[in-house]
Symmetry: D2
Subunit: 338 residues, 4 copies
C-alpha cells in the first residue's frame, strides 16, 4: 500500500484522479491540498466523492505533503507547479506533475509560449515525459523521480502520428492537426467562455496556431521519432464534457494504403494495453470514461488522415497519471484503470 | 419611430431584447449602458449582433439615457434597478423594468425575500405588472409610466394556473409548482454553478421552497383571481440554454375533465395571441425562440395537473418586455415578435 | 469464476452491464444473444467494448444459453422476457430479469398496464424483487432462482420514500412523484421521439399518470411498508444521456424536521453501501456512472419533499443487476461496482 | 402576395422554411405535401407551428401542387426530387429545389457520388445554382425557373474560400476542408446514428473523403473562380442541433497577411447582406437562427486558414431558399430573413 497525495484538489483532473485512486487497490490517499484555508471536506468540493474519502483539503506546504506521501500528484496550474516540485523532490517524494511546467526541454521555448521565466530550468531536461506508449519511456518512467504528465491534446495527437512518423510513412513537416475537445479541458475556474450558455449549442476554433500544446507536440514527436516534426495545431471547443478527437492531415512519403497504415500502428502498439488500433472511425464516446486511445487511418485526396480519440480527463490527464504511477511502483500499468 | 434605450446591455436578456428591437419596425435604439468605462462596441460584447447595431455601450447616468430615449428597458440586477428607475422617470422616460424591484407590492415581502430594504417603496404599489394576458392589465400597461416585467418562472406558472383559479376549478391552497428551467435564466456572470461542465449531463433542484419567484406567484395570482393563492415552488436546472416547463399539481374543487379544463383556458385566453392552449403535452422546444406560452391540462390521481411552457428569455423576459412596449406605444402587441 | 450470459445484447442496459462484467473479478461472460442471425461481434454492436470481449452475439435459444451459463441476465423487452425465462429456469439457470415481466404480483395489473396477457402468471408471485436496500430482500435475493430487477424510476422513487413510509412520517396516499430522466431510459431502438434533434434543447412531460412504473411503485412500497401506498407519477424527459431525479411531495403525518427526516433515512439505510443520505440537494451528475442513490429531504409549504437521484442505467438497471448477482453468489454486494 | 407550396413537409428544413414563410410579408402558403395519406395537420407534424398555419399536409401530385402555387419549394430527398421537378416546371411553377438533384452539372459525377442514374440529366446544366453571394448568380436566380439550392457544407465552405481563390491568393489544389456540423443536417428520419444517446457527449468524423458535398464544392468553386479547385472534405458530427463550422487549410500562392485576406473578402462581399467578414473567430452560436455566414482568416504554419460558420438549416438550407425566392420575385433578398 503506497501513500499518495494530490496537490490542488478542486479541479476536474483532481476529481477524476481521486475517483481512480478510490478504487485502486494499491494506494491510500493521505493528503489533499487547496489554497482555501478553511479545510473544506473533499465531498463538499466534489459531491460525487461523498462516501469515497473522509479527507479534508488542507493548505499544506510541499514539505508537509511529502511527509505524508511517497508519491505526489501535482494538479496545480503551470507556473505554480514549478515552485512546488523542487520542494517535493527535496523532501523525498516522487512526483507526477500534471501541469505543463516540465513537459518541454527548452526554457526559452517555455518562456515564449507560457510567458513566464522557468524558475527550475535545470530540471527540465532531466524530467521523464509520461507517455508510456512511446518507445523507451516505460523503463524511464519506472525509475523516475519526476514524471511530466503529457497535455491532453498532445498525447492524443502523438498517439495517432508517432507510428507513421517512426516508420517514415509521412513527411514530418506540414502536418495539420485539427483537434476538437470537450469543455472540461478548460478547467473549473468560472470564466465567461466556459459558461454553459456560451458553450452549449456552439462550436468554434480558438488559439489557432498559438496553442501551447503545439510546441509540445513538435518536441515530443521529434525526440520520439528522430525527425524534425512540425505541426500546425488548431483546437476547437465542443459542446460536451469530455473527449478529444484529432483529425490529422499529413503528406505520405510514398504509396500508402489504409491496411498498411493500420498494420504499422498495430505493430507499433503491440503489447500496449491502452491504445486500440481500430478499423472504424473513432468517436469520443467510445473512449469516454476510459483510459483508451482509439486510433485509425484513412487515405484520401493525396493525404494520409490519422484520427485519434481519448477522454481528455483520463488518457489525456488523470488516467495516464495513474498509468505512470503504476509503472513507478513496478505494478501492471493497468491497475485501477479497467 | 420611437427612441428606446437599454440599461445593462451585457446579459442574455439584453441580447435577446436587442435581437427583437433590431427587427422591430417602430423603434430605434439610441443608447446602451454598461459599467465598463471603455465604451465597448455592442458587437464585441455580443458577437451575434455584428452588423445589426453600430452602437457602443456607455457608462451613462439615467438622466443621460432619458435624454436620448422615450422608453427605457432596464436590464439591471435587482437592487440596482430601484436606484436608476426614479431618475429615469423624473427625467421623463417611460420604463419597462426587467428586474424584480417593482414586481411586488409590499416592501416587507421584498425585504424578506431579497434581503434588501427597498429604497423606492412608495412606487411599488403604483407600478403596473407587465403580464398582458391577465384581465385588466393591457389597459393599465398602455397608460403606464413604469411596467414591472414579470419573472420568467412567475409568468409561466401564472399562465397555466390563472384560468382555473379564476373559474374556481381548483383550490387556491396546496398547489405544487414543480418548475424546470434552462440555464440562461441564471444569467451571464461567471459562476461555478453555471459552468458548462457543472450543468451539462446533470439535473438538480435548487432553492426548494425558498426561490424569490414564489411570493411573486402568490401575490400576482391572488390579485388577479381574488383568491388567497399559495404555492409551493420547486425550481430545477435543466441542461439546455432556454425554456421553462412548469408541472403543477392542484386539488380540484369538484368534478373536472381534461376537456373542461382546456375549454376554460381557451375561453380565458380568447384573443390573446401569445398563449396557445393545446391538447398535446407542451415541450420547451415547441416555444423556444418564440414569444408563445403553450398550456395544457391533465387529470390523474385525484389531482389537476397544469403544464405550461415558455422560452424564459422571450415570453419569460425580453419578448414580453417588447409586448409591453407595443402596448405602451398603442401598437399591436405582436409587432416585432412573430 | 461464474459463467454468465446476457440475453439481448444490443441495448444500453446490456452495454452498461457488459462494462461492469468486464471488470468483475468473479465472472466470465460466455454467451451473448441477438435476434440478428449474422453473429455480429459485440464490438461491432458496441464499439466502446472493443478489446474487452472477444465474443459474438448469437441467435441462441434459452436452453443453449443455459447450457453455457450459470446465471443469465435477461435484457429483453417486456413480453419477450416471459417467454424466455421459464425455459432458462427449466434448464437450470438462475436469472436476473431486467424486463418488467416479473416485477408485479398481479397478472390483472400487468395486463391492464402492459396491454398483454401474462403467459407465466403463476411465477409472478414467486419472484424476488431485486432492490437489496429494502428490508428482507437481500436474504431472498441470495436464494432466488429468479430476480425481477426493478424499474429505474421505481427504485429511485422507492429509495426516497420507503424510510419515511416505514416510519409513518408521511401519509401513504396523495404522494406526487415528479420524475425526470435522461434519454437512455427510452432505449436504443430508433424512434422519432428519441432523435437527437427532438430531445436536445427540449424538456417535456410524457405519459402523465399513465406510466407503467406507477403501479410498480405502488405495489412494491405497499408490500415493503405495510401501507396502502398510492402515488401520482409524472415522468419527464431530460436532454442528457443518463440520470434520474425524483422530486416527491408528500403530506406529513405530524410535525417533521429536515434533520429528523434525514436521520430516519440514515437509520433505515445503515450498512447499505449504495444509498447515500446527504444534506445537500442531489444532482444526477453526482451519481452518474456509479451505483449510488443519493437521497435527501426538505420541508416547505406544509409538505415533505423527498429528493433522490440515480444513474438510470446503473443503480436503475445494470448496476443493481450486478448487485443482485453478487448476493446470489454469496459475494459482497459491491464487487465490480466501485 | 405570391402563392407558394412546400413539397415534403415533415423534415427539419421544411419546418424552418415554414417558420420563415409564416412571417414573410409577401407570400401565402397554399399547399404542403407528405406521402402520408391521412392528411395530418401541419401542427401535428411540427407542434411548434401551432397557430401559425391552418393547413394539412396532403398526398398531392406535382401538378396539383403547381395548380395552387406560383413557386414551389422542393424539400424531398435526392432521387425523389428529380421525379417531381419536371412535372412542376411543366405545369408552370417555378421551383427552388433543396435536394441535391440539380446541383451538379455532370450526370456521370451525379451517378458516381449518389449511386443513381439521373432521370432528368438534360436539365442539370440549365439549372441555376442558388448561392446569391457568388458573382453573376443573383441575376441568373432572378430569371430562373429552377434554382438548385446549395448543400449546407457546400455553401459554408465556398463562402470562406471563394474570395481567396478568385483573387489568386491560395492554390486551388490541396485544400483541406475540415467541417463540423450539428445533427439536424442528418435529417428527421429515425436512425440509430442520430439517436440522442448516440450523438450526445460524442464527437466523430464520418464519410472521410467520400461525402457527396465534396464534388459539389469542387465544381461550384471551379466554375465560380475559373480555377481547377480540388478539396479534401472531412465532415464531423457535433452534439448540437444546428450550425456548421468549416476550418479550411490552403497553401498561399505568395506572401499573405490576415489583414490582406480579410480585406480581400470584404471587397468580394461588398453589398452582400448575409456574409459578415469578421476579425474574431466565428462560432456557430453567433449565426444560429440567422441567415448570416461569418467568415474570417488566419495565417499560421505556412498555411492560410479560412474559417466560416453558418446555421445549416438557414443559410445552409431554408434561409438561402427564401433569399432565392426573394430574388426570383424581384424583392429585396432579405425580406423575411432579418
Amino acid at each position: 500500500m503506497t501513500d499518495v497525495a494530490v496537490l490542488g484538489s478542486t479541479g476536474y483532473t483532481a476529481l477524476e484522479l481521486l475517483k481512480i485512486l478510490a478504487r485502486h487497490p494499491g494506494v491510500r490517499v493521505t493528503a489533499l491540498t487547496t489554497r482555501q484555508t478553511d479545510r473544506p471536506h473533499i465531498a463538499s468540493i466534489h459531491p460525487s466523492l461523498t462516501g469515497l474519502f473522509d479527507l479534508c483539503a488542507e493548505d499544506l506546504s510541499p514539505a508537509e505533503v511529502a511527509a505524508r506521501a511517497e508519491v505526489v500528484f501535482c494538479c496545480l496550474p503551470h507556473g505554480t507547479s514549478m515552485a512546488a516540485v523542487p520542494e517535493l523532490l527535496a523532501a523525498g517524494a516522487r512526483v507526477v506533475d500534471l501541469s505543463a511546467d516540465y513537459r518541454l526541454d527548452d526554457p526559452a521555448v517555455y518562456a515564449e509560449w507560457y510567458g513566464l521565466e522557468h524558475t527550475d530550468a535545470a530540471r527540465m531536461t532531466e524530467t521523464v515525459y509520461g507517455l508510456p506508449e512511446l518507445s523507451g519511456l516505460p523503463e524511464k518512467i519506472a525509475d523516475a523521480k519526476l514524471v511530466a504528465n503529457p497535455g491532453c491534446y498532445t498525447s492524443t495527437s502523438i498517439l495517432g502520428l508517432a507510428p507513421l512518423l517512426e516508420a517514415g510513412l509521412i513527411e514530418p513537416g506540414g502536418i495539420v492537426v485539427d483537434a476538437k475537445s470537450g469543455t472540461s479541458g478548460a478547467g473549473r475556474s468560472p470564466k465567461l467562455g466556459t459558461l454553459y450558455c456560451e458553450v452549449n449549442e456552439s462550436f468554434s476554433a480558438y488559439a489557432v496556431g498559438t496553442h501551447r500544446h503545439q510546441p509540445e507536440i513538435d518536441e515530443v514527436l521529434s525526440k520520439a521519432t528522430g525527425r524534425d516534426v512540425s505541426v500546425l495545431f488548431t483546437p476547437h471547443l465542443v459542446p460536451m464534457d469530455r473527449g478529444i478527437l484529432c483529425t490529422m492531415y499529413a503528406n505520405p512519403t510514398g504509396d500508402v494504403t489504409v491496411e498498411g497504415l493500420i498494420e504499422t500502428a498495430q505493430t507499433y502498439y503491440k503489447g500496449k494495453h491502452f491504445v486500440r488500433v481500430v478499423e472504424h472511425l473513432p468517436a469520443t464516446k467510445h473512449v469516454a470514461h476510459t483510459n483508451y486511445c482509439d486510433v485509425t487511418y484513412r487515405v484520401a485526396g493525396g493525404k494520409v488522415i490519422a484520427l485519434s480519440a481519448t477522454d481528455n480527463l483520463l488518457k489525456g490527464a488523470s488516467g495516464v497519471a495513474v498509468q505512470n504511477l503504476n509503472l513507478m511502483l513496478g505494478a501492471d500499468e493497468a491497475v485501477g484503470l479497467l
